[in-house]
Symmetry: C2
Subunit: 407 residues, 2 copies
């Protein structure tokens, strides 16, 4: 019988969100009149910007006519989209990233998951703790880790804890690592690294010849000064960092699927015989071999984000979510719960009075509100809890009122 | 410096289609009045079926309204699409495949490329020769092969040559293999396996505990009886085969991106300690970790393929392409060139009087027609040449006339 990839068996059996769904379904079954409000799923609820809708309508029509029909698109994505990204997200902000250093994809999850393929299997990785599961699980599946230990961590991985004690700015690793995943603004803590904190990592990577994989999915939510939107705002980052960006949370594309990866031309790894190999070339090979591009229709929708009206509509929606975040933060304060984040990101990370799954059950059964237990994101997430600001305004207010009253 | 995946360095430097594009560009630069017709790219030219266009227009509108907006979709794809596939492609044809055995994706290329991840790195693979490069390259990148040899083959891979001598039905491998890639109807030869020939492979896999990865991207082009559309038409296939299907060539979705993988619940591999592990579970883990689904809009478009009008429109387009194929075949006959395929698939595989790249140059410079040299698909493709039937009718006729006159 064909041997399967045994690394998959190292992963914990139940997924965080499946377990949450199971508990919520069980509660609803016993309580038929339940009115459960979810502040748990990291999914948006507001509709797509009208500019995107209009652009996609035109694109769909083009696809129905022989003169304007599009088949396979360019390997790295259409120039109209890459140019718009390079112009708006980089050039206009004084950052030197060129259109041909951008690879359009079907979203950050795919890119953050697949990027590890271009590296040697023996590379040592560092991941945040708490962590977006994709960075870690994909390396477990590739065989870069040992087994899952009792404390919830995997052998052979360097964890970078983010806690109140260090202001959610992890300390540099003590041991040598090759690849460092960073996510700022951060899911799940909702906090963000300042420019000097991010510079600390870029300098570390430069001095230690490590590569930073920088997930900037929430860049559009940054409200404070001194919080970089792009790792390339830091001098020297072009030679040490890959950046991932997404239209999911920027423009509501969670069910529409579009993102991009930036790989500067000066970013290298080395081969077994010491030769410098450009990562750009490897990613291009990976994508041209295993991916056939993002739909034309979707790329047209994404490009519309950069029009004047697109920008206006996107900001409006982001403001809507961040108003929810403010309501949640203020409510938690009233409920005497300590909370972090929710200023530069649509997540609020609250300290729980009990272990996080117990708090989950209490919140569900006593307030009929669903959140995400921090333990699900790693051992440094224990005794914390994530609430998201993506919901409907009225339900968010109601959920917060229930927390204030009952918790 | 972080070590890169050295396996990528085993791949040949220049890609087949990049080299073709280079030679065509060079010719056009020297011959400004050139009127080059391409029968080389495996890309469709007819617009999307109107049923799909209409469905996507509605879906785009839904995404613009808060009441009907969709975020993240179900893990294996929307039920409306999986149910339609299970009903039309399987149940209606007497094949037992259930909706939950179907995984919607962004296309066969991704699936055919990523499927190897769930298997152990030491698995022995068998690939067709000539071969769709994805099956082979992705295993090179994973480290399942040795280096590229002078004859164009990779060490450690079992090749299954398809030639006129064996009627393009490869012989069973002599050595043990774990994973067998098959593509029927075949790209690039345009030929297809009969039911008994495919049964030979299913029986082999059952007797030798191997897994068949069956690429059925061109199922919709089958015209003759006794050519199976699905590997599951063969008894016993549920326990040995994964099937890949695509909307790309069925409905013109090359630039719209949708496909699906079928993994029956009885399909197992084994772990290091001999435990039977269902492949369904592994693929679900892979996809839920590294992929966030195909856009709602696109899935709506794909589902429309199964409406009555969708079916009518799809058949009309397929007939258009297959009429091109007929014109090409008859023209090649007139030109005294031996040709295969083009009856159950939109590809014609012709025997070249000279090595295939020489024939490529001759065709380009003397007839201003572009095709794909068989050597680009593997050593058994040498002295063959692929022409595709996806082009415009008038240009196809003209290209064929030029071949008849000048070659």
């Amino acid at each position: 019988m064909a041997r399967i990839n045994d690394n998959y068996l190292k992963l914990p059996g139940s997924y965080l969100f499946s377990e949450i769904a199971r508990r919520v379904a069980a509660y609803k079954e016993k309580n038929l009149k339940a009115d459960v409000i979810s502040l748990g799923i990291g999914d948006v609820t507001r509709p797509l910007p009208k500019a995107c809708v209009d652009a996609m309508q035109s694109a769909v029509e083009e696809m129905g006519n022989v003169e304007t029909f599009r088949g396979y698109g360019p390997e790295q994505g259409y120039e109209f989209l890459r140019d718009a990204i390079a112009e708006h997200n980089y050039k206009a902000k004084g950052i030197d990233i060129k259109s041909d250093e951008i690879f359009i994809s079907d979203g950050s999850k795919s890119d953050c998951g697949n990027i590890q393929e271009i590296f040697d299997n023996n590379c040592k990785i560092a991941v945040p703790d708490p962590v977006y599961p994709v960075y870690l699980d994909t390396n477990v599946m590739a065989g870069r880790t040992g087994k899952l230990l009792e404390d919830g961590r995997f052998e052979g991985v360097t964890y970078l804890p983010a806690l109140p004690e260090n202001n959610f700015s992890p300390a540099l690793p003590k041991e040598r690592v090759d690849i460092i995943y960073l996510c700022s603004p951060n899911n799940p803590t909702g906090t963000a690294l300042t420019k000097s904190e991010l510079a600390k990592w870029v300098n570390y990577a430069r001095e230690n010849e490590a590569i930073i994989l920088f997930d900037a999915a929430y860049a559009a939510y940054i409200a404070e000064n001194d919080i970089p939107r792009s790792v390339y705002e830091i001098e020297g980052a072009r030679e040490v960092a890959v950046e991932f960006r997404s239209f999911s949370k920027t423009a509501g594309f969670t069910g529409t699927r579009c993102g991009y990866t930036v790989i500067p031309k000066e970013l290298f790894g080395k081969s077994e015989n010491g030769e410098k190999i450009p990562l750009h070339k490897l990613w291009l090979r990976r994508q041209t071999t295993k991916f056939n591009g993002t739909a034309y229709i979707i790329q047209k929708g994404a490009a519309a984000v950069y029009s004047d009206e697109g920008q206006r509509q996107v900001k409006e929606t982001i403001n809507y979510y961040m108003e929810n975040a403010k309501i949640i933060r203020e409510g938690l304060k009233k409920a005497n719960l300590t909370a972090y984040g929710g200023i530069n990101a649509p997540y609020i990370w609250l300290k729980t009075p009990t272990p996080s799954w117990e708090f989950f059950d209490k919140l569900l059964t006593e307030a009929e509100v669903v959140g995400t237990p921090g333990a699900g994101f790693g051992s440094a997430g224990e005794n914390f809890f994530r609430l998201t600001a993506f919901g409907n305004r009225e339900k968010t207010i109601e959920a917060v009122n229930r927390i204030v009253d009952k918790i």
